[in-house]
């Protein structure tokens, strides 16, 4: 067994691990990131790339406002073009109850300084030409929300992290975490290496509860299977992410860089577990839902379908911070929003690890909370 040392070991090569790793490396830490397959192999690489500040919790909105700023400045700060595009997010309301829930969230969002409004059905059709407005009451519209390329963001962070002297090991699975007197000591991998570090971060996404168990820490994160599809590239026809929250709704956007339309829906009932095969149900149901909203898409061709895991926490909010084991941190349970939270969580967790305190107080997301404040705009 080879013994190695680091200032911090990060478990997981998705957006969260990469972003925290980059910010730690920037602060002078020698980081070792361990990824059991390859970067983006888990949830990050399967997400559709939407980025929004339209949430119902003040803290989530503040975190997302920071994240959007970091996405905007990514090229200057980190170096890669991540295809950031502020096309906005349009949440559709087809009944009064949904409208009320949007209005309530908009009030909080506006207090946080977000440029957001409830707009009429006609205005929705102006924002999305060709939108089927049958039964539509209106929509929650924020033009500063947007999209970026999850691969480019994650690989961009990892590249800078390596340039700053940190290490990334792919195809390397963590099989054990050693604790001594309530303090984290080392991480053992399937390759027989042992990495000694005073700081270990669990950024294992849907596998966060397993990686928690290795340290004797209970992390209540469970995977939910979501499916997605991508169409061929077509000329620009859709600017924002279009979100239809009906039980038979869906959400999709047109990728700004390439012209592909990417979307998914939340299955009812939810599908817990790690299964990531493609279903016939999704590939027939999703096109119907997309065409119902935007009939002009009917002759666009589907290239591919796939599945990924939402890493759900009990209340739909992230789990970020310290644990009962000294030096063992967790940043997981992003509940379907890990990619968009990534840059901000990366910066804030790195602050917490290096200085003991983050510039935005994340204590509402701590592991030992009661999990009672559910997110309304999941």
């Amino acid at each position: 067994m080879s013994r190695k040392t680091a200032d911090a070991v990060i478990v997981g090569g998705g957006i969260i691990g990469a972003a925290v790793g980059y910010h730690l490396a920037k602060a002078g830490f020698k980081v070792t990131l361990l990824e059991k397959k390859f970067p983006c192999a888990g949830s990050t690489g399967r997400c559709i790339g939407g980025i929004r500040a339209q949430f119902s919790h003040e803290l989530t909105i503040k975190v997302m406002l920071l994240s959007i700023k970091l996405f905007q400045n990514f090229k200057e700060e980190v170096g890669d073009d991540i295809e950031w595009y502020a096309g906005g997010y349009l949440f559709l309301a087809f009944d009064e109850e949904r409208k009320r829930s949007f209005l309530k969230a908009i009030e909080i969002q506006r207090q946080c300084g977000l440029d957001v409004a409830f707009v009429s059905a006609d205005e929705c059709a102006r924002i999305v030409p060709g939108l089927n407005t049958e039964g539509l009451i209106g929509g929650a519209w924020c033009p500063t929300d947007g999209q970026a390329n999850p691969f480019k963001v994650t690989f961009g962070y990892l590249k800078r992290m390596r340039d700053l002297g940190s290490k990334v090991y792919t195809e390397t699975e963590v099989v054990g975490i050693n604790i001594n007197k309530g303090r984290v000591v080392s991480v053992v991998t399937n390759r027989g290496d042992e990495f000694f570090a005073p700081v270990v971060l669990n950024a294992a996404g849907p596998w966060a509860s397993e990686v928690g168990r290795m340290a004797g820490v209970s992390v209540p994160v469970t995977p939910d299977r979501h499916e997605a599809l991508v169409t061929e590239a077509v000329e620009r026809c859709l600017d924002p992410m279009l979100v239809d929250y009906r039980s038979d709704g869906c959400y999709f956007l047109q990728h700004y860089g390439t012209g592909h339309i990417i979307g998914c829906y939340t299955p009812v009932p939810l599908v817990p577990g790690y299964r990531l095969d493609s279903s016939d149900e999704f590939i027939t149901e999703m096109p119907r839902r997309m065409i119902r909203l935007l009939p002009k898409l009917s002759s666009v061709k589907v290239l591919r379908q796939w599945a990924g895991s939402y890493e759900m926490s009990p209340d739909g909010n992230p789990i970020c911070g310290r644990t009962s084991i000294e030096g063992y941190f967790v940043a997981a349970g992003m509940s379907g929003h890990g990619f968009m939270f990534g840059p901000a969580i990366g910066k804030l967790m790195a602050e917490m690890i290096t200085t003991g305190k983050s510039t935005i107080d994340l204590s509402e997301f701590r592991l030992d909370r009661s999990f009672t404040k559910s997110e309304a705009m999941r």
Binding site: G45, F151, V230, T231, E285, S299, K301, V302, L303
Partner: protein, 108 residues
């Protein structure tokens, strides 16, 4: 939005003086070579950073060439490489056509 509306784009500059490996996404041999030299030694990673294999043919046209290039440049035998999973539908199908099919249940 028929065929006439597909994205019309000029051939990328990087593709002009090089052999094209991925025809769907216009990825040149030079780009693949550079990425492998930059340390991306798996078809899965190359797919994600270059979009190689993400186009109409889903990698049927390019993945074997990519595998040979990895073997040649990085010295990893093709037999040891992991390839991206093939995803349905095998060929591009219109949304309308897929949506006409009524799916009954997992077991029917």
């Amino acid at each position: 939005m028929g065929h006439g509306n597909r994205t019309k784009r000029a051939v990328k500059k990087s593709a002009l003086n090089s052999v094209i490996v991925c025809r769907c996404e216009e990825i040149s041999e030079d780009e693949v070579r550079q990425a492998i030299k930059n340390g991306y030694h798996s078809p899965e990673e190359l797919k994600r950073i270059l979009r190689i294999g993400m186009g109409h043919c889903s990698g049927r046209g390019c993945m074997r060439v990519v595998a040979r290039m990895i073997e040649e440049i990085a010295g990893i035998p093709i037999a040891k490489l992991q390839f991206p999973k093939s995803r349905p539908p095998v060929k591009p199908i219109k949304l309308q056509l897929l949506g006409q099919y009524r799916y009954e249940s997992e077991n029917s």
